[in-house]
């Protein structure tokens, strides 16, 4: 299917262009980019080469690789081949990876069922205390969908390559994916999703409706939360038992001390006689 390859090559070229466009000069505060590569095409293992050398072999559906070490680098002559073969599936040319930001590259099927590459930029904005972020990305060979959370529409009319996102209170939601505007058939789910404090949960709908291979991949980004700014645990002085002496004890001691002083005075008086 040359058509598929053309699309793949186009997608790869777009990807490279998009990266080149968003790449920004490395500044002092940049800690580099976080780039993950996700394999979202069921049933196809691939090899990845750069300049004719093997970078990644036997990359299987559902697996994730961290490409962050390549941030800001240009991978020359990048090719994706069907695993164990010389069959070039994607001839991406020279690909420059972004040098900052948080990105996920997903190899997936487009709406028509053809392989494609998508680059998503992940939202790493701070999340309020007690909330987590849920992002649902449509990366499957399927029409536009609605995402139901606990039976109610959460994200509507999400098309292939698009996403819906929201910050939600921590807890568990039951998520289902249905054709847009419908409540059935449920094509994915219902699946429990844990919304955790300060964590971004990204859910990818992948596979093919026609091939009945629809399924879900997940990715999490932690450490986005907001922690308490301070812990105020006292608005009054402690009782006077600071040295193991209660106020009552101190009062009693004061009485004794007074009596002692009187006694000393009396003794002194006696001595002066």
């Amino acid at each position: 299917m040359p058509r598929t390859l053309t699309r793949l090559a186009a997608a790869a070229a777009l990807t490279a262009a998009a990266w080149a466009g968003t790449a920004s000069p490395v500044s002092a505060q940049d800690a580099g980019a976080r780039i993950h590569l996700l394999h979202g095409i069921p049933g196809v293992a691939v090899d990845v080469e750069a300049g004719g050398e093997a970078v990644l072999e036997g990359f299987e559906f559902g697996d994730t690789q961290d490409l962050s070490a390549f941030a800001g680098q240009t991978l020359a002559g990048l090719q994706v081949k069907v695993a164990g073969t010389d069959d070039v599936a994607i001839d991406a040319g020279d690909v420059t990876l972004p040098d900052s930001g948080n990105h996920t590259v997903v190899a997936h099927l487009d709406a028509a069922g053809d392989p494609a590459l998508a680059v998503f930029t992940n939202d790493t904005a701070a999340i309020a205390a007690g909330q987590g972020r849920l992002t649902v990305r449509h990366a499957a060979a399927a029409p536009a969908v609605d995402v139901l959370a606990n039976g109610s529409p959460a994200f509507s009319n999400v098309e292939n390559g698009a996403e819906g996102a929201a910050d939600l209170p921590v807890g568990t939601i039951s998520a289902s994916v249905v054709p847009t505007g419908e409540t059935e058939p449920v094509v994915i789910g219902p699946a429990d999703l844990a919304i955790e404090d300060g964590t971004s949960l990204i859910v990818y709908a992948v596979g093919s409706l026609e091939d009945e291979s629809l399924t879900v991949l997940t990715e999490t980004i932690t450490g986005l939360g907001t922690t308490p700014a301070a812990i105020q645990t006292g608005n009054s002085p402690v009782s006077d038992e600071a040295n193991g002496l209660s106020a009552a004890t101190l009062a009693a001691m004061a009485v004794l001390l007074g009596a002692g002083a009187l006694g000393v005075g009396r003794l002194a008086a006696v001595r002066t006689r």
């Binding site: 196809v44 293992a45 053809d114 392989p115 991949l217 907001t226 301070a230």
Partner: protein, 226 residues
Amino acid sequence: MIRVPRSRAASTLLTAVLIGACGTGGERTGTPEAQPTTTGAPALDAGASGAPATDRARSPLADQLVDLGSAVYDPSEHVVDAVAPTGLRIDALDTGMAPVLPVGIDDRGELAVPGARDVGWYRYGPRPGEPGVTVLAAHIAFDGVDGVFRHLDDLTPGDEVVVALSDGTEQRYRVTGLTQNPKEALPPELWVREGDPRLALVTCGGTFDAARRSYTDNVIAWAEPA
């Protein structure tokens, strides 16, 4: 929530099923005649016709990749553990079993610490036994009443701390040490959500500023499961 290791077996099985269903993957049944030209390579889903790979050198880039494992949805990772701390007893401080209440943050973004005789558990952080630091905070003194943590700074390493849980069990800890910090400089270690389960007991200390009705410092007693 308790993180359960991903089920590689399940994802591998799924992959195997999918590969079987699609008839793709590592099969190398192509004949020379069926091999495509360089301009007519097969689609990704036509691996069965693929030409056997020629030997190729391993790129030095390969060493920089980090395999993060399977991203296939695993329901066991989405089971939220509901066990919460309900009581705290520190015999060395004669606290008795003080009630522990789940608390979040208030309008000022600060921990919503309960009254003098209660202990607040930061409910958005780790639960007892989960990776990271479980934070329990209580007053040293509040509205003229000595708080549960009035004598927290008297704890010494080895002292026992007992946390009662909502499932009826108890988790025992041993104090490992005390730290003190200015109120405006809470240690980042307090909010760690990874690593061994630990317990942090937090109260106030330092000097009481009568004008601000506040103490200058926080005192933290750290403990590990016994």
